[in-house]
Subunit: 431 residues, 2 copies
Amino acid sequence: MTTTHSLDLVTRDACVAADAADPLASFRSRFILPEGVIYLDGNSLGPRPVGALERAQQVIAAEWGEGLIRSWNTAGWFELPGRLGDKLAKLIGGRDGETVVTDTTSLNLFKALASAIRIQQVDQPGRRVIVTERDNFPTDIYIAEGITDFLNSVAEETGIRYEVRLIDAELTLDAALDGSTAVLALSHVNYRTGAMWDMAEVTAQAHAVGALAIWDLAHSAGAAAVNLNGADADYAVGCTYKYLNGGPGSPAFIWVNARHQERFWQPLAGWWSHAKPFDMADAYAPAGNINRFLCGTQPVTSLAMVETGLDIMLDADFTAVRVKSLQLTDLFISLVEQRCASHPLELITPRDHAARGSHVSFRHPEGYAVMSALIARGVIGDYREPEVLRFGVTPLYLGYADVWDAVEILRDILDTSAWDTSEFKTRNAVT
Amino acid sequence: MTTTHSLDLVTRDACVAADAADPLASFRSRFILPEGVIYLDGNSLGPRPVGALERAQQVIAAEWGEGLIRSWNTAGWFELPGRLGDKLAKLIGGRDGETVVTDTTSLNLFKALASAIRIQQVDQPGRRVIVTERDNFPTDIYIAEGITDFLNSVAEETGIRYEVRLIDAELTLDAALDGSTAVLALSHVNYRTGAMWDMAEVTAQAHAVGALAIWDLAHSAGAAAVNLNGADADYAVGCTYKYLNGGPGSPAFIWVNARHQERFWQPLAGWWSHAKPFDMADAYAPAGNINRFLCGTQPVTSLAMVETGLDIMLDADFTAVRVKSLQLTDLFISLVEQRCASHPLELITPRDHAARGSHVSFRHPEGYAVMSALIARGVIGDYREPEVLRFGVTPLYLGYADVWDAVEILRDILDTSAWDTSEFKTRNAVT
């Protein structure tokens, strides 16, 4: 039996004792979680912070209902994308003025790719390859394809051709990066396996061949240590509804290294990206700061709730969060390997701490049915093609005994083959 | 004195009597409006429907809080964009399956323009001009410029050049449309003047020269009669937070004529636009329906509230809404011209009913200060550069006596020069 866990938690009592000694234990009370649920899907949709409902009521009843149009000024709606961006930046190694909370991760990736391509067209013309990986979350690949398809439609007669190149079993990162690479766009933590790239090392590797580096932090913002400026990254995007607990579909974020902000327009140049939106000028003049990466009017109620989740995360000691995250994923791996050893579960998450995000995934030939049975018993993880059981670990509201209990229920289901496909649908989550 | 009003409402008592006889009077009770306010800015941000808070509470407390990730299926979150789109379609002459509520108006315009350009590249190569108007809402011009700038960046060495051509004082619509035009993109009702294009006639004119027609319905959906299929339009976009009362920054919509839906990708090809998003395939395969115009995960709380506003509008007889809208704008014009005749107010809204949306605008040399004074007295309209006082008229919650009272307050302010710039800021609204 291989184990990597860093605590000696071989009994439920030891887990209960670890919970009692947990410096983050008090954060559990800042979330609402239903009775009888062990929630291992905070990597897909974080639970509701206690303050979220009140914040939404304030927006709807007071700011919208009473303030009406005046609330754009009096309630600070205009400043929300940048103000929340500055808060979020503290979790990802960003400086003030480099981040806005806006739009969706897909759209923000489009802006980052378009801006990076535009820079390369001028600085190093002829670089027309976007490198990403086949195992990336699909939307990241599709957005890269959408951009190249659109550009190629113009260039058809000219021989100019943009291309998406996928790292996979046959093509390593090293081999994929070369003098034709305009930009490398990777997810920091893989949505399926939980594997994490070394951001600083890989960014340096991209820069060494003259490529720019874009990081999708969907599965690492609020989940793992991220230092964008420390890694000298060029752009980053990510989501606020997973580990940041912003609410279903809450707006995403984009971070742009200050050195790139004023170079070119991103093509989604809506009026919020204008230097003076309320001059109503017919000529476009891009904002001279991160506002250039805004586009249109944001959904205020959903956006405002993002702050409630961010404030909780900012109150926590993030070093303690990361330590506990690794202890919980270690514990999960170790218990599954001890207690479910006779079953065909294959760990696909790295054992190496430096290469692991905050979720653990196992393949099982009946993965879909097993996850259905788990959910029916209150253990909510999720299923990802092919055959992957995915369990998110979130130190602010999950304890050691929760992990013990979840693995016990998994063991019981496997031992008794008590699965059933009626409860669960494939389409269950959002990354 | 010229008057166009169709009711004889020359006293406040006559207005009160008209309110008493108003078949739409009962709709007022379905909105929350603060005491002491006459709200003439529903064309910028509609007020809060009574049911909006409860709907948001349901999403946050029950669907998010209790249902957690399961609510994507059990609460129908996945279906919201299309389900709300089908409801909205009834107000704009769309058929089922042609509309989704998603993203922002700016982003949806980008999708429509990109899709139209892609079609023209194949059907009529060489057409590279987007025609729009200098007086269009700025974001529409900026988005067109963003697309052409991005395409031209590829084409730089090739001589291929995309162009935005603006209709203005020197260039009529007739002169702007020619064999180089790929697409005509206009706002149906002008955000500043309230002037309305004849959609059927102008669409036919575009088609006659081989161009596609895109309509921005931001100031006409829910405000004026719109029949997209009747006009044989190609694409339309619009917003839900004005006359549709969806809430601050609520997601926008896009309508695509069924004949164009399956032709090419729009480049914002996020995973929600995929034929089978949850197969997590690395290869992009666009949805064979309107879902192709989706992109990423939507802000569920803000999106769900859109339905509350739509349901109210769908309960109303829209013919009655339009009749009352014209009576109210007629009344507004007539009263201002009678009672403020000695002041330098210049009507910039068309008197012709067929050419008028649902707001009335006057220029005044001290427009900004006058609007500040009006707002301080509870008459909330808004100000638009240059010098424009803009008053939105919304038949579901505004009565004839409201218009009378608003004009009386305007008259009093003008007669006493009682204006003051401290209350109001330029940046006050969202189109």
